[in-house]
Symmetry: D2
Subunit: 303 residues, 4 copies
């Protein structure tokens, strides 16, 4: 089962309604499907290929049709969930980190979100208490090949300097099911793992590595080509040749070793998808981090 | 056979060394594989799904490794071939058109090439004869969803005004074989067809529609997901289940009707590929259109 | 008087409350100062250096402090005034043209506005009547040095093809008073004149040249360096050396002939000013061109 | 004298051929004017408003005419001078920092230079010795208002992590004489001072603050509006009213306190100037930091 290449914990579970060491809850709110996966044991973590922790998924197929009402409902729900996960605020800033590569559209969700995040840390000296604004700073550290610096080196050194109360990482994810591209948001308190994301991070961004709470928010923007090939095969295989999950997983591993391993699958209108999702996530972040601002004030400031 | 979805005429032929109504020549120059496909009869055109005309392909696998010498050799050869295809120059400008969407990396080859094309039309009044420069203008008309204007409407109306001696269209292409992404250049005198390219043009840009010679230059940057699935299937099918080309083609048609039809497959480092190929193509265009400039002068002006 | 270099008709008048052949009205609405200058005679046009026609100015100093409420009030008022100036809509599109150079921040207002303009022409086939949307297309034709094509050539040829019911040109303007940068919007039915704007257009975009109503909307983003030097001089000159308007105008003309003639003066935070003004103008345009959409719908679609 | 607002030490000296505590040398190489100013005493530093250290200026008026040969000659000379100033290389990386704001053209020289700097640190594990390449990493930390993090905080924390052997800062400068915009390069071992640059840095980037050698390379892209007004005044003042340097300096201080203090003066074609200068500086940096590469190899890799 671990061979399924997806950054969404809910997809690792597949259609299993129960899995030893894992709690799963599914419910619906205002046309949004929520699912919470809690990986409790190291054994389950190993089998699912994801570290222990909480994984919350918000899903709304209307998002793919660029429905602005669905986007607003998702942003509100994301804001509420982030508020719940973040420790109560003090004067320390939250550091928002936009992972990924601006130059590759399906990998640009992180930087695009940073562009719409309300940054306040530089305005708060003196009148902090009066304004009611909370301290937020935001960076898009770029990619290793462009800067020669690992993302984790940059975030680690900055965290050492700024002593943020939490780090929020935004990233483009890979899904198993292409139908989830652009319409699913995953929030997890386990941070970012090596090998995950569209750009395939080489090192972890976690509470362990950074010494501070790390929450990761992501949206799938791609499927790996090897996964797609595997699923196409499964779809088309005649019943008798259907040699089961294990054979398919082995096939996917084999494909990853070929030139397919470097290919990603993405929708033709990925620019519009990234733009919508960046607005959605930044909207949720701004609501969670600036509770003293009304929705209308946030919308105006994000314009 | 027509079902193979590719913008490269050489791929339509597959491994057939001969095809009725089609001339094929293959040779090699300085580590570059060239192939020329001439579709001579309407019957062959229908069967291959491409209009009658010449299709020249330059291919060099070293390009994918970002080898600057290979890029230079390709630019030189492309320049020579373009010079041969273009009618002798007079005072009328050549209009270079960069098709595609800047916001979607694998579809941005056209606009990226325009950025490096030497534009001279505005500098030639008076001293034309003296400078030896030829008149060139260049536009990137964007995509229908952004402007509300069809590319062909924009090019047609501009051609009507500027009376260019030729139109050169640059576009991102779809290949059948992902191994050709970023290392193959196709030049054709048949222009741009509806449904071709990564962005899937809705109308033709051809000598018929524009009233002037139209040469199209393209590089594959994607494979359609349906094609990839089909090929993965063919690769994995056991000999006895290999029901032949016809079954695969039918499978691909079926997949195109599903959500797969909107998905493209592209390498993770597509930003570097597009950058290299834009430099290559603009280098070839500048050599062909400005014969009075030395290679060193062109390189300096493109910096 | 004609020597004053400004694109704002209200500044040509200076502090004159009356001028032969010119009607001037000034009033205030919701903290916005409005002034309407109507140049009625050719004689006045020659003296003021502006063609006959209507020039409406909306001014609100709070805009410079990035006040989102002021921006919204201005967008609403701009929308109302544009609705009044535009002929009643039919099925023909409105063509919105963003003049200027994306690569030079103070000259980028036009292209930045286009990015936020709702483009609909490509979506209206068939369901036109049902959706209630009006047909809008939008282009940013770039600058002559980049494309080799004059803006007026591009707009003229496109107008010939699309038969728009009106053309709306957006441009960055030069003011005389640096205090008006970023907080003044001018709307005029006289189009764009040669030599005006930050990029100094070489040809006119007017009803005469294009054969269709041309409305120009602009915001000052620069002052010419020669104007600034002149005003600094006037400010500092001791009363006895104050040799009057004529001497200053002559001085400005002289300065324009020096290297100063190529220099522009702009605020350090011109990026934020252009961003705010593009949101404002696009908001006004979208309200005027899509009367069937509510303000909330427009805001969501512009996100 | 200290009141002259310029980031070029050679302009602080004015036409003085000698100044106590300062050594000045001027010479010419291949059509480039060089001047070296060495501020030796704290007293001179205070009077000139610049810290003790070396300031080398390369000047070539042909650069303003976008002459590619002049650009190449300057890049070569800059490369030689940087090689001389940098300590002999070891395995520690050089950190190149592009200061300024991508969104404001005249302040974007630093980020634009970073885009053309050869970054190698991520490729050197293992084959370091074999490739002969030296370790380089490069960042453009953005501006405080966008990230909420001071540039110096970001560079300081990264330096603490990466232990570079030197830091190279690239910045847009303010000149006193607009004729120097785009054609003068200053190299100094004193780093970046508070209040300098187009974006007016708030904190120092120096060997003292960062604990490692800091070399700053800059090109003037603006003149402050207050300086321009002062110079226009001096130019126009009649001999008898010419009350000397002191009166002008006092006038400039006064103007800086008005709204003029926030205005910058820049050429209309600042986009082309920044592009050329970024190519020039990155060319010089790449030559100095990669002595094992030939000029042709560097040019190809920068394409």
């Amino acid at each position: 089962m671990g061979a399924v290449r997806t950054d969404l914990a809910m997809e690792n579970l597949g259609c299993n309604s129960s899995f030893p060491g894992v709690d799963v809850h599914r419910w619906e709110e205002s046309d949004i499907q929520l699912s919470e996966v809690v990986i409790r044991t190291e054994d389950a973590a190993r089998q699912l290929g994801k570290p222990c922790g909480n994984y919350l998924t918000l899903e709304c197929r209307l998002l793919c049709e660029h429905d602005p009402d669905a986007r607003l409902a998702m942003a509100n729900l994301l804001g509420e969930e982030l508020s719940r996960m973040l420790a109560p605020s003090d004067e320390a800033p939250v550091l928002v980190v936009g992972l990924g590569n601006r130059g590759v559209t399906p990998d640009s969700l992180g930087p695009a979100t940073i562009d719409k995040t309300l940054v306040t840390r530089h305005m708060l000296s003196g009148d902090y208490a009066r304004s009611g604004l909370k301290s937020v700073c935001a960076i898009a550290p770029g990619v290793l090949g462009v800067t020669g610096v690992e993302t984790v080196e940059m975030v680690e050194s900055l965290a050492h300097k700024l002593h943020p109360r939490a780090i929020l990482c935004i990233d483009s994810l890979a899904a198993r099911d292409s139908g989830r591209i652009g319409c699913t948001v995953q929030i997890t308190n386990t941070g970012i793992q090596p090998g995950s994301g569209v750009g395939n991070h080489r090192k972890a961004l976690t509470q362990d590595s950074l010494g501070v709470e790390v929450i990761a928010v992501g949206v799938p923007t791609v499927v790996y080509a090897a996964t797609l090939a595997r699923d196409a095969f499964a779809l088309l295989a005649t019943p008798e040749s259907d040699s089961g999950e294990e054979a398919l997983a082995s096939m996917e591993r084999e494909l990853l070793g070929t030139e397919l391993g470097n290919l990603i699958v993405t929708p033709r209108d990925i620019d519009a998808i990234v733009k919508d999702c960046a607005t959605l996530i930044a909207g949720g972040i701004n609501r969670a981090l600036q509770p003293s601002l009304s929705d209308a004030e946030i919308a105006q400031m994000m314009d």
